[in-house]
């Protein structure tokens, strides 16, 4: 195979590859052996520690499923609340009026600059001090609040990028046939932008699912990760086994979401009916930083690497990448 980095290989390069493969195999085997040895030395491979996960369903029905349900509940709630909020903020940032555009920009940039854990801690204290939410419900409220504040601002950027990714002719034609600005946004731009944004939104869901675990570890929100702790107490200090199973479940959920997003992105890109503007997973990664570093989706951005995927200028070679947080 060829790529930009190397050509089809001759006999010498192939011999070198075999050598690299052998060296890598030895190093990898040594690492696996070390992992096996240290686990075995501490008795972590003993069958009783792993048995609850392979025989019977008690571990799943008693510990993992209730935790998973809370994880999904928090993630879905956060997404459902953050979407309209983010759409509003994103559209507000595109407003022609300075007194709408600037405050929206400040809010979005502020909440993107702050770690989601700080927002969650703030939420927890807020509900404890100023509301009468029952103390059992507070962690859920706090986790959802933190996730909503952060993700609404990320989604605002996605919405803004999605609208800016549409060809300018769409707005011009809409205004040309006499629609008002609000009508053009509502009838022409938003419906197309929402379709273009779908893969990016699904990718953002991965970030949300991962972030719920912070709430479990710091705010005692009883989600999937904290169920590992509970199980470890019940099944005799099998924390390594429990965390491995929990991690596998996270990978399964998030990997299917990521694959779904890539599939959706490919499908939307191939579709002939639309304007071809698709906002993929990579664009979420760009958006997850601050405006200055990537998703400066303003028209007149000429460097070709703006956070927008427009009109088929970016072909293959990009698969799903979600933001690093």
């Amino acid at each position: 195979m060829t790529s930009v980095l190397y050509d089809a290989q001759g006999p010498r390069a192939r011999r070198r590859n075999v050598l690299y493969t052998a060296v890598f195999l030895i190093a990898f085997a040594a690492l696996l052996w070390w992992v096996y040895k240290s686990l075995d030395d501490k008795g972590q491979l003993a069958w009783p520690l792993w048995k609850p996960f392979f025989t019977g369903t008690e571990a799943y029905s008693t510990y993992i499923w209730p935790g998973l349900r809370n994880t999904l509940k928090a993630a879905v709630l956060a997404m459902v609340i953050a979407l309209p909020l983010g759409a509003t903020l994103g559209i507000a940032r595109l407003s022609d009026h300075v007194w709408i555009r600037v405050p929206a920009a400040v809010v979005v940039e502020f909440f993107r600059a702050i770690p989601v854990l700080v927002l969650m801690i703030f939420g927890l204290a807020l509900y404890a001090n100023y509301t009468n939410v029952a103390s059992d419900d507070r962690p859920l409220y706090a986790v959802v609040t933190g996730l909503v504040l952060y993700n609404a601002s990320v989604l605002a950027e996605i919405v803004r990028a999605g609208i800016l990714a549409l060809p300018r002719g769409q707005t011009e034609a809409a205004l040309g046939i006499g629609l008002r600005k609000g009508q053009a946004m509502r009838i022409i731009l938003l419906p197309q932008a929402v379709t273009a944004m779908l893969p990016a939104i699904v990718s953002q869901l991965v970030v949300i699912v991962k972030d719920t675990a912070i709430g479990g570890a710091v705010l005692t929100f009883p989600e999937l990760l904290s169920s590992a702790n509970t199980m470890s107490g019940y099944y005799g200090a099998n924390i390594i086994a429990s965390l491995t199973v929990v991690a596998a479940i996270y990978v399964a959920i998030n990997f299917s979401l990521t694959s779904f997003a890539s599939w959706l992105e490919g499908r939307l890109r191939r579709r002939r009916k639309s304007t071809g503007a698709v906002l993929g997973a990579q664009d979420v990664a760009d958006v997850a930083g601050t405006t200055a570093t990537g998703a400066e989706g303003a028209p007149g951005n000429t460097d070709g690497r703006s956070g927008l995927v427009g009109r088929g200028t970016r072909g293959g070679g990009r698969d799903g990448t979600t933001g690093a947080d």
Binding site: V4, V118, K210, L225, L243, T293
Partner: protein
């Protein structure tokens, strides 16, 4: 006492600057470590050896789908408390936790560094390498003179995003008791009454860390990017 002093009097009782210094240390050490490990991963991922490519792809796909919290908790509960891996910290729990947090952040962030570098390489058109080979440059010359300079310049923007995300992710170290800004905030809001003032101080601190990084590196990324 003036009102201002009453509102912010908690600053005298807590070491806010010290906590942010821990945050900065976590971020910088993890940034260096994950840059090295991530670059190695990227080299494996785009290299010609199928086995290494498979390993790097699997690593990236698994690690970026696991929550950072799981990785950090695993390094504390699994590596430290169960397997007694202390990373040379001996009995000093705080030092051990700090180093384990850095380890966890490196393992996690490297996957994103790898993807950022790979996205940089992907921006280089294949025609560049073909033209370089056509004028008779050797393999190392093609990489050194033509492909990698363009790839690194395109990777600055994505890497800046990774660095910002890493700075924010250091707060997850609070889950294993590393005394950084978020843990201090948790302690303060539990003991003090001025919730808004405390949150404002912590939020301001993180804005000071992330916004200039974003502006500076974003400007740099745009400046060095190859116009196509």
């Amino acid at each position: 006492m003036e009102a201002r002093e009453i509102v912010f009097d908690f600053l005298g009782r807590y070491d806010v600057l010290g906590a942010f210094w821990t945050t900065v240390q976590l971020a910088l050490l993890s940034a260096v470590g994950s840059l090295i490990w991530g670059t190695l991963l990227a080299a494996m991922r785009v290299g010609p050896v199928p086995l290494m490519r498979g390993f790097a792809t699997a690593y990236v796909n698994i690690v970026r789908n696991i929550p950072l919290t799981v990785i950090i908790l695993f390094s504390s509960l699994g590596l430290y408390q169960t397997l007694r891996v202390t990373l040379g910290a001996g009995d000093k729990v705080d030092t051990a936790n700090f180093r384990l947090a850095v380890l966890g952040l490196i393992v996690y962030t490297a996957a994103f560094v790898c993807e950022a570098i790979r996205s940089g390489i992907n921006t280089v058109p294949v025609g560049q390498a073909e033209a370089a080979r056509a004028i008779g440059l050797s393999f190392t010359q093609v990489l050194r003179l033509v492909v990698l300079p363009q790839a690194f310049r395109a990777a600055v923007g994505p890497l800046a995003n990774v660095l910002i995300a890493l700075t924010k992710n250091t707060t997850v170290a609070a889950a294993i008791g590393v005394g950084e800004a978020a843990l201090l905030m948790k302690e303060m809001v539990e003991n003090e009454a001025q919730l808004l003032a405390i949150s404002a101080v912590i939020a301001f601190g993180f804005c000071c860390l992330t916004l200039p990084t974003g502006l500076l590196l974003g400007w740099l990324g745009k400046k060095v990017a190859v116009r196509r």
